[in-house]
Every structure is written in C-alpha cells, then in structure tokens.
Symmetry: C2
Subunit: 340 residues, 2 copies
Amino acid sequence: MGTRSVRVREPSMNDVARHAGVSSQTVSRVANGLDNVGESTKERVLASMRELGYRPNSAARALRSGRFRDIGVAMFTLSSYGNMRMLDAITQAASELGYSLTLDLMREPTQRAVSGAVTRLLDQGVDGIVMMIEAELTDSAMAELPAGLPVVVNTSTARTDYPVVDGDQAAAGRLATEHLLDLGHRTVWHVPGPVSSYSAMRRRDAWAATLRAAGREVPEVLQGDWTAESGYRVGLSIAERDDITAIFASNDQMALGLMRALHEAGKDVPGDVSIVGCDDTTESASYWPPLTTVHQDFEEQGRQAVHAVVAEIENGPVTPARILAPVWLVERSSTGRPRA
Amino acid sequence: MGTRSVRVREPSMNDVARHAGVSSQTVSRVANGLDNVGESTKERVLASMRELGYRPNSAARALRSGRFRDIGVAMFTLSSYGNMRMLDAITQAASELGYSLTLDLMREPTQRAVSGAVTRLLDQGVDGIVMMIEAELTDSAMAELPAGLPVVVNTSTARTDYPVVDGDQAAAGRLATEHLLDLGHRTVWHVPGPVSSYSAMRRRDAWAATLRAAGREVPEVLQGDWTAESGYRVGLSIAERDDITAIFASNDQMALGLMRALHEAGKDVPGDVSIVGCDDTTESASYWPPLTTVHQDFEEQGRQAVHAVVAEIENGPVTPARILAPVWLVERSSTGRPRA
DNA sequence: CGCCGTACGGACATCGTTGTCATGGAGTCG
DNA sequence: CGACTCCATGACAACGATGTCCGTACGGCG
C-alpha cells in the first residue's frame, strides 16, 4: 500500500550525477543509452538512478528536443462503436511505438470545434494529430488544419492533402446488398445513417450501385440517424407493408431497432424480412435473431492511422496515401431466402 | 484548405518582444494577464502575438512551473459501456477545468500492468491520475500507487487512502431485486458479473441481502462474465426449467444474451420470465423486449473523479472521501407480474 | 523645489536536459 | 619516441518562459 505525502522535488540529473560522482552529461548519456560510456561508470550511474528513484523530466526533455513523443486524438464522440474500437487500437499502437496519447473530444460538428481541439492539442505540445472527422461539418466544407503538422484524417472524403485512413465502405455496401440478392430477394431496401456522414454516404452509394448493376429497382431510402430508436421508427412505418423482404441497415444499432419494430408487429426475421447490419458490434451476435452484418476492421484502421502519423513525425511529410481497411460479411441468422 | 509544409520553428516570446519593440518579460506579463503593463504597450504586444501566431510553449512553461495542467487516465478497457461513458465525462470535465487528458490502457489485470501505466503517465508528466480499477488484480490484493501524487481510484473496494468514486452498486442490486419482488415473484435469480469484479460483487451482495430481508430463498447464482455470450449460455441452461420467473442480470449485455436464449427456447419475456439488467446502455431500450434496467450515472462519476483529482492537484492532499453516484430503476417491458 | 511613492519596463538567473566542443589519457603507427 | 588517433568524460550554452530584483520616469506632496 502506498502512503501519501506532500509533493517533493524529483531528483534531477544533477542529483544523480553528484551521487554517482560523475558529471550530469554522463548521466544523460546513460539515460539515453548512448554507447560512449565506460562499463563501470555506466553501472554506477544506473545504481544511483535506481537508488534515488530518478525519472527523466519530460518537460525539460521536450523543451530541449522540441518533441514530446505524444500524439493527439481529436474526435467527436466515444459513443459510437467504431470510434471506441478505433481509439482502443490507437492507444495500443501509440504505446507500442513509445508515444503517449492525448485525447480531445469535440462537442459539435463545426469548424470552430475542430479548430479549438487542434489549438488545445497544439498548446499541449503534441507532435502529431489523428483527426477523426466522420461527418461533414455544418459550417464549412472541411476543416482548416494548420500547416506543417503531421495529421492523419479518418474520414471518407476524397481529400488528398493529408493521409486518410478508412474502412472500405464501398465494399461494405456491396457485400451486404449482394448477399441479400444472392439469397433470392428481388431488391434490397436501405436504412442509411445521417446524410452528413461520409461512411453512410458511401455505403448508400455502393448499395444503389450494386442494385443497378444487377438490374434491380433502387427503392427510396428509409432515412435513419445511426440510433436504434431511428431504426425502430423506420421499422414501424414499414411493418405493415408486405413488399419489403430485405433491408440493409447502415449500422447494427439501427438493425436492432428495425427488428424490435418487426417483432412488435408480429413479423418474423428472417422469415418475413431479412436484415443485414453493418459494423459487427460485439453484441450483434446476441441480438434476436443474431444479426448478419458486415465486419469492419476498426483495429486495423486505428493502427494504420497511428503508423501514418508517426511516420510523418519521424520522417517528415510523405506523399499522402489513402488507406482502406478491408471489410467482410459475417453471416448469422437474420438473413435467409424470401418466402416463395 | 490548409497547405502542408515542413516544420518551422515556432515564434517565441523573444520574437514577439522584438517585433513589438519591448522586452520578453513584458510579453510574458501580457501573456499571463498581469496588470502592470501600459495599455498601449499591451495592445502592441497582443497585435504582435496575433501577427506572428505566437503560441506559448507548454514544455518551457511546465519546466518552469512544475505543472503540466494534464491529468492521466489509466483503465483496463474501453469496451465496457461504463468505462466508455466515464471516459467521455472525464474528458469533458477535464477540458472544462483547463486540463488536458492523457490516456493509457492496461492490457491485463495485474499489478505489473498498473505500475507500468503509472510509470508511463508519470514519465509523461501528468499532474494527477484517475485510475479505473474495476476488478481485483490477479497478482496482488491492490495496486501499489506512488506516494505524493494526486490519485483518484474508481472502484468498489473499501480502500480509504485515496479518494474513491463509484456508483451506488448496493442500491442497484437492491432496486432490481425489490422491483421483481414487488411484482409478485416468489424469489429472484441472479446472473452476476465475473467474481473478480468489485461492482459485480456488490450488486450480488445487495441482491442476496434484499432477498434475505424479505424472507425469501436465496438461489444459487448463475455465473456470468459480463458478455452477452455468457448470458446466452446461462439462458440455455435454465430455459427448460419452469420454476424461474425472475432474473436480475448484473449488466445489460448478459440480459440481452439471456433473452436470446429464452426466445430460442420459445419462452416469453416477461410472460414466462421477467428480466432486469443493469447499466441502462443506450441500446437496452431497443432490445426485444425493451429492457427494464438500473440506470448508472457514469457521467456523474467521471465528473466527480476529475474534480477530486484537480482539487488534490491545486489544493494539496485532502482527507480521502468516498463518493457514491446515485442509481435509479428504469422500468420498460421486460418485467411484469408472474403468471398466476 | 526637492522628496518619495508608484507605475512601468528591463536585466538576469533559473527550471532539467541535451548538443557542441574541449580535455586528457591510453593506445597505435611510422 | 614523437605525432597521431580514439575514446571516455566534463564544461558550457541553449531550449522558452517566468520570478526576482532593480532602474527609470512621472505624479503628488510638503
């Protein structure tokens, strides 16, 4: 059990140096693992460091070197499954590369909020930033980002002046739609995420394109907003219709809401209606019925984003690449052949 | 659209001073809002700061002042609903108090992992730490935390040498159990979270105590591990029995799994079995049927934790308090009177 | 008119670390 | 054996901001 006491001055290099009978320079060399230090001296210094509980002062180090070994993450919400998983992966990747992570949440989708986050992160001294801009900002086509700072944007825009990491949303829309067509459904209805979302837009476009490529009718979309509640509302409005046999929901939560509405109306999934979700959240396997969905590799996206920023930090600007993480269909029990 | 360029040296106080024709101390005074600066001088300095894009160097400031205005958060996983919401609230509260936030995830529930996280955060220079230790560590009764550092622990232990913030888990177990008894169920079965979890333990104890206080039989627990999958397994094993009419699951995910198993077995919820969850996750309202559950105020917990650390940072050690956030029952459709 | 208090601005040292250069002793080669 | 290199180590300055101390100019007052 640690006991608590008032804060005291931490030992500095000079303290260690004095204790070991060397100059502070030598301590610095040992601390940084340089090789031009005598073996016995090195041992002595290490012993002193242990004994005094020496811990390098990151402020001084950063002041001198200009680098903090710290990357900033700016995002809008933790409450979406994708963001949460990605942050998890980002934290892990950063830690593996020896970077710590500063988190900043933006409370509204505006240019102002983005600038504010960037300013705070910059003031804090981050070496690079991973921005997760998943939706169009309400007051500007795209955020103004400062020059000369390594930034990776996670978004689905076609923007090319920064490295971009994203899941392959086009494939997601295509896989879901093809799966339902392959099962024999005449066409597939779609519940997209909010119109401002880049991912939602891409999935929707791919859904429509796939239908057209198969020569099928492209129905009106049944607008959702990512929430299960919106899926429920959509579900209520279509529960009476008999012509809808297959639905692709742009995320698992909306699929959950859809199924609740269908259950309430006494419809069977997949007997009356087949449903495909998107994201493959942990719980989707336990929905009733277990949900067929498109798996997104958020871990991979997070990892890629961190590697891209770190590469920029350490090697200078790179020609911005666009990295797409693969997706794949996970078939469970919410889809089946239409009734003959 | 920002253009990207190589990193250049940021303007310093001296640059601003030269540009404004004053000394760097005057710039410092202006930057810190001290009053002993002439009005016209002040204007001139502010103009120069804007023009040069001056941004105070946090490393230098921290080196001089010994404070970073940064708090660290160490936790085990983002994947639990509670942790995610709490981190969200922590980020917001920290930002409101002018603190930035450094996140570190521990990958296993061991003393080693905890020390590693603390070391990394300390190396990074945080002024205080919020530790979220929600389960017993496998290799030690409790983590050894360093002396002289403001720490707040979020956990359910009785530990008293640090401020502790937690939800009122005893009330959660009691409310859920009483609700089911009030509906007329003879007794209530329980699916606890993993035995290592402090919250799970408290909810379980409260459940048992409530039953005993009402003079009811306390059934064997149906062990779960927080996952929906574990709830499903438990559900399968009890779907055949007819004597179980009321279940309190220690979180919503397990309740979800339970309901899936019951559906598969053709049982009706709440007709045959009433179910109460815990946490009130966003999606629980869209489960089938919508889940009656105990709401936890994770936002409040996060806020309290931050306020406690900041208070310690700014005013020195306080006598450690134990803060309990309130919980309340949210009644939906998964509970009802037992069949006569 | 001379004294002092006050408002203002500058010089300097300092925080802990690291880059640069200097020093001195040991080893090498012609 | 002298000139040389090589290597461990130390002295010193610098990173950028800020606290302390001091000097100057100005206003008020006796």
